[in-house]
């Protein structure tokens, strides 16, 4: 096992983790501030990807398409919040889960009617090849771009939440909603803005991942589960927790898939190893979650004191 391989796998883990962070950031704020379980968060990720595919086709430019898709998804998210989800805040979690699950099905079918079951979003030609990072370590250029954009968005978000007035309100809302309300914070507006920001982050992730994965109906459901794992590990309502949790999940999942079968191969017979390796690798992140919750039942960085 060479250093090159370990470096490449670390980059893969970082890239996966950053994309998970973009999804988890919105989810954790909505869950933390509004105490609302929004299963339809993944649908916004899907809508972001479909919108990006349409805008890229219309404008002929990948960058312009993505930049248009992000605010468009944010507006869609805010419309959803104002007309629908706002009515759910006072209900219990079960009602929220049921309603937002219904929303997943509705948005999936609407997407199918508007776009069909899938859409094309090709990788920009200039980024479709590899770049030589170190001698002997070529790495896909597009994945590097994802890492850079992911890091930039993460930094921006961190700055917004920790250094600005809006960020302060968000943190106040996450740590104690009633108190923030009593201090005269316009919670309604804040909720709508946070929801829009979460939707925008979903769109960034959806649009960036689309050329690597696939723009298709149902793409949001699988990744949503991982996003929930991330926010549970990180602590609900905490941006810092979402970042640490996302990177942990990204790296652990990548390392598990890459190296566990090899480790198993060293200790067991090939037949056992080839059966157990992939099986264990696919549950490593859930093992991680179980371990974290055992020692820190509130997650790594609980937002509520």
């Amino acid at each position: 096992m060479s250093w090159i391989l370990i470096a490449e796998q670390s980059l893969n883990g970082l890239q996966f983790g950053l994309m998970l962070f973009l999804l988890a950031a919105g989810l954790t704020l909505v869950f933390g501030i509004m105490d609302m379980i929004n299963l339809a968060h993944g649908s916004l990720y899907m809508l972001g990807a479909f919108l990006a595919s349409t805008f890229v086709q219309l404008t002929g430019s990948f960058t312009a398409g993505v930049l248009l898709a992000v605010p468009a998804t944010a507006v869609l998210g805010m419309i959803l919040e104002i007309f629908l989800l706002r009515n759910l805040y006072q209900r219990d979690h079960m009602a929220q889960v049921l309603a937002t699950f219904a929303l997943i099905l509705i948005i999936n079918e609407l997407t199918r009617i508007v776009w069909g079951s899938d859409a094309a979003l090709p990788m920009p030609g200039a980024l479709s090849g590899p770049v030589e990072l170190l001698p002997g370590l070529p790495y896909p250029a597009y994945r590097l771009v994802i890492i850079v954009v992911g890091l930039a968005v993460a930094l921006l978000l961190y700055f917004l939440v920790t250094k600005t007035k809006v960020g302060m309100l968000v943190r106040a809302g996450a740590s104690n909603r009633e108190m923030a309300l009593a201090m005269g914070v316009n919670i309604r507006l804040l909720f709508t803005l946070v929801f829009g920001a979460g939707a925008a982050l979903c769109a960034v992730a959806g649009a960036l991942l689309a050329p690597l994965l696939a723009v298709q109906v149902g793409m949001g459901e699988n990744i949503l589960i991982l996003a929930f794992v991330v926010i549970v590990i990180g602590g609900i309502g905490s941006i810092r927790g979402a970042l640490v949790g996302a990177l942990l999940v990204g790296v652990v999942d990548t390392i598990g898939r890459a190296f566990l079968p090899i480790v198993f191969g060293a200790f067991f017979q090939p037949r056992v190893a080839s059966a157990a390796g992939p099986a264990i690798a696919s549950v490593t992140i859930y093992l991680l979650m179980a371990v974290v919750l055992y020692f820190k039942p509130q997650g790594l960085f609980p937002a509520r004191g």
């Binding site: 990788m123 479709s128 050329p211 994965l213 099986a279």
Partner: protein, 387 residues
């Protein structure tokens, strides 16, 4: 396209409504969800063949009852039961996936209804569970992978790296590959079914430096893998081999230029130089404005096989034994060229090496460049007790 299809279906229905004596076919397939492209291709080709036949099969007006199994074995079985008990169909066909077929067709066999498979042919049904009422118009499940293994052997690849999803068909496919691959298997990697990001696996392949990489990743998994494989720069160092459906039109469309130069093995290709195939390819493209896949070719052949059997029995389709005999003779012009049925009623046929290249109009298509197996059957026929 959908409207046209509806029109075609209506045509089939309206023609059939007039005749008293008609052929009823239950067509069950996966027509919705992410895996729907395959079923849609089979259905489109099947209905087109019936339409070009004047809405008839073997001279009798045909009624095709199309049902969507939604990629769920239990739904497939329900439709099969309804087709058999309520609609009293003469033939069943259409199923794409082995797991759905294994759940849905035994009820047909119990009721002596012939099932003609346009795609799946799981190994148990080639061997110990073979049935007199099953005819496979496509190819046995292992065949493409066996041919790919033989191709890797022919090329003299010393080390091969294998990747498949972690489920039964994935394991069967790599078993088929290894049956004819004489070199050394560096690694046999099983990924999660439905996995879409292969960055970790690709890094391992780069580190292992194999002489060839073989993947069985049907549908969206394969689309993603090939795109990421090319983006990682590995395509310059490691030859990728896929089964025939792994880089057919349904994969070429979304992946694009990245498929150029990919090798695969199949029993049919779009460039086959026989009259039946030329007619099929031209008709399919004209009707649906896209090029046909192997799946479409299988759907077309399935319709023609039923057509020939009904014709040869002179319309006495109530006599199942007579229909079986006519089926076995398979007197029709297949788009794949000649083939015959084995003792287990699975095809004995040739398998070819194809490569993705540009045709005269600059479109990406599979070109035939050699024959891997001649008159190839399957490894399970000796377990079939049927005479």
């Amino acid at each position: 396209m959908k409207i046209k299809l509806l029109a075609a279906a209506l045509l089939v229905f309206s023609v059939s409504a007039q005749g008293a004596d008609k052929v009823k076919v239950g067509f069950i397939s996966t027509l919705s969800g992410p895996s729907a492209a395959i079923g849609v291709d089979i259905r489109d080709a099947f209905l087109l063949a019936v339409k070009m036949n004047g809405g008839k099969l073997g001279g009798l007006p045909a009624e095709v009852l199309v049902g969507d199994d939604q990629f769920k074995p239990d739904v497939g079985r329900q439709i099969a039961e309804k087709n058999i008990r309520q609609d009293k169909v003469h033939f069943l066909t259409g199923i794409v996936f082995s797991n759905i077929m294994l759940a849905s067709v035994p009820i047909a066999f119990e009721n002596k209804i012939i099932y003609v498979s346009p795609n799946a042919a799981p190994s148990p049904m080639a061997g110990k569970d073979c049935s007199p009422y099953l005819f496979v118009a496509s190819w046995p499940n292992d065949a493409y992978h066996e041919a790919a293994g033989q191709h890797a052997t022919n090329r003299g690849y010393k080390n091969a790296y294998l990747i498949a999803p972690n489920y039964q068909a994935g394991k069967d496919s790599l078993t088929g590959f290894k049956r004819y691959y004489k070199g050394n298997v560096v690694a046999e990697v099983y990924t999660q079914l439905g996995q879409l990001d292969y960055a970790a696996e690709l890094a391992q392949v780069r580190a292992a430096k194999p002489d060839a990489l073989y993947i069985f990743l049907p549908g969206g998994m394969g689309i993603n893998f090939i795109k990421q494989f090319v983006a990682s720069g590995l395509s310059k160092d490691v030859p990728l081999i896929v089964p025939g459906f792994g880089d057919d039109q349904d994969i070429i469309r979304p992946v694009g230029e990245a498929t150029l130069g990919l090798f695969d093995t199949a029993h049919w290709a779009i460039d086959f130089d026989n009259a039946a195939n030329k007619k099929f390819v031209a008709a399919f493209e004209k009707e649906y404005k896209r090029l046909p896949t192997v799946f479409a070719a299988q759907g077309w052949d399935t319709a023609l096989l039923i057509d020939a059997a009904v014709r040869d029995t002179k319309g006495k389709i109530e006599d199942v034994e007579a229909v079986r005999k006519a089926m076995k003779a398979a007197r029709f012009e297949s788009v794949r060229g000649p083939f015959k049925f084995n003792r287990n009623q699975m095809p004995i046929q040739n398998y070819y090496l194809r490569v993705v290249a540009k045709d005269a109009q600059g479109r990406l298509v599979n070109k035939t460049i050699g024959t891997v197996f001649k008159d190839h059957g399957d490894a399970y026929v000796q377990d079939c007790k049927m005479k």
